[in-house]
């Protein structure tokens, strides 16, 4: 591994760990906030009105980051029955096919990013505060939407880079075999 790979790998590792931690803590926190609502109502007889809204904001936040988390875990579902049949037994075709699909995903996401950027700009310009959680600026979540889509793009680029590398290796291995 070169030094550049090492630095890049460390940055990626940090981003991934941060995403995992943010989403994991967000999921647990949302659960506990809603559970606290039930405990407050029936055991402590003391309803905290803003808990529900606060839980919803936490939930939206971690769900947006989870989109990026799922992308680097390659968890987005596809109908791959036909794809597998088309490229079965042909490693170069399979590799090229993967690259094309990732590039298509990158292309469609790039079309959306300017729209999400405009949405973020409007959110910054006209902040909206929560009805019950008055200190919470809902615009933060709308800003987060743009940033999480940006992280989705980053992960797609990393996957594309990896798949292109794998494809090149497969082609080289194939030509070495033919050379012998």
């Amino acid at each position: 591994m070169t030094r550049r790979d090492g630095v890049w790998g460390a940055i990626l590792g940090f981003i991934r760990s941060a995403e995992t931690a943010l989403c994991g803590v967000g999921l647990i926190l949302t659960t506990l906030l809603i559970f606290a609502q039930v405990v407050n109502r029936y055991l402590l007889h003391f309803e905290i009105m803003f808990l529900n809204d606060l839980a919803l904001y936490t939930f939206i936040g971690f769900m947006l980051v989870a989109a990026a988390y799922t992308t680097w875990n390659e968890g987005h579902v596809a109908v791959d029955v036909f794809r597998e049949r088309m490229v079965r037994g042909r490693p170069v075709a399979a590799g090229a096919y993967r690259v094309v699909l990732v590039l298509l995903a990158i292309f469609t996401l790039c079309l959306l990013l300017p729209v999400a950027y405009g949405f973020m700009q409007r959110a910054i310009q006209y902040p909206q505060y929560g009805t019950l959680v008055r200190w919470f600026n809902e615009s933060w979540l709308q800003i987060l939407l743009f940033w999480s889509l940006l992280f989705v793009l980053l992960h797609l680029l990393v996957i594309a880079w990896r798949d292109i590398g794998n494809l090149v290796q497969t082609i080289r291995a194939g030509s070495r075999k033919e050379g012998r």
Partner: protein, 443 residues
Amino acid sequence: MEAGLVVGLSLFFLGILIGLPLCWVFLGSTFATLFIIKGSPAFMAGTFYHAINNYVLMAIAFFIFAGSLLSVSGIADRIVRLSYALVGRIPGGLVDVGIVAAVFMGALTGSSLPVIGALIPLLVPRLERYGYRRDYTAGVLCSSSFLGYLIPPSVPGLLYCLVAQQSVAAVFVSTLIPGLILAFGYILVNTVICRRYMQPAKDIPVLPATFGESVAEIGRSFYSAIPALGCPFVVLVGIYAGIFTPNEAGAVAVVYTAAVGLWVYREMTVKSMWGSVKSTLVTLGMITLLLGFGTVFTRLLIREGMAQAMTDFVLGISQNRYAILLMMNILLLILGMFIDGIPILIITVPLLVPIAQALGVNLVHLGAIIVFNVGLGVVTPPYAISIFVGTRLAEVPYAKLVPPMMIYLFLVGVPTLLLTTYIPWLSLWLPTLILGRQVVGAW
């Protein structure tokens, strides 16, 4: 139909065909439609944001999390032991154990994959020793997995309510009777055909010799399963007694399952719990983009008159309610053969609801029909997520797992779907009894 819609829908099906992840298919089709109709994409980010800004989605997340915790909490073991004590003596009863356990697990998870994930590793190797072929047991368990969708709580049911704006409590309970009919049908078919799938046994199962011993074993296994069974009890009673909202019930299910796993059965560790958190996050991230981009695409289709065009087209073919319901079922079954349940719900519900309303079909009943179809899609090849997971867990080839599953699909699954479709009483009687006609609506 307008050119924009034709291009958008054509690209949508092409995207599915080439194997592009469905979230990008939704997004790409939206941009293609907008390009043709020269529309502005400004609405997309706001629609995406508002699609995930929803309490029902939170409930979906909690039930998925609870289902994921279940597989590491030791609850499945107790459920299997109880099911074994209840039906182990019936001919083919050891396979019935799996079907009955799937009913219980359905009430715990609201989804199909946790049912398979928990039951296949537990039952398939054990039943193989007792002479049941691996492919058969795994096939029955995969077929039974969609009971997880029908026995409340139900994750697809929640998603239907999210899109169709229906009562969660009503839709949950609407699939209960069809689910029990399905389980009973599975047990019946298994009793008849299981001998064809037997092989020489390496072991003989130890069953209680006398009636008294059987009762004692049922008592013991029931006692050890009480904490596990407490979860659906608390959740369902909580929802139907008006104690919790569905998302509060989901949070209670998560905390309850974690508490049982950590402190009652003591089989869950912090590490295994974190593993469940991570696997839940992958599913939730997938749902975020699917729901967000799917809502954007369907909103555009509806704005461009797709729902109205589809209603006019369908009513132009026939005004007969039964014929149209049959067409809906065929459409959903075909989609289910290729597409996962969540995108099917996101794309079809907004288009089918106006047709159902025009025909006077009760929307809770429509929910039961759609959830049942989505469930059948999970077990219908070629794209059947249950079969994919089942083959991996049971180490049985895809081609060997499918034939026994087809027997259950055609002898029980499809007939029960038709019963659910054409006898609204099956799905509407119980919700009306519990919640009243003002919640369920006229039928």
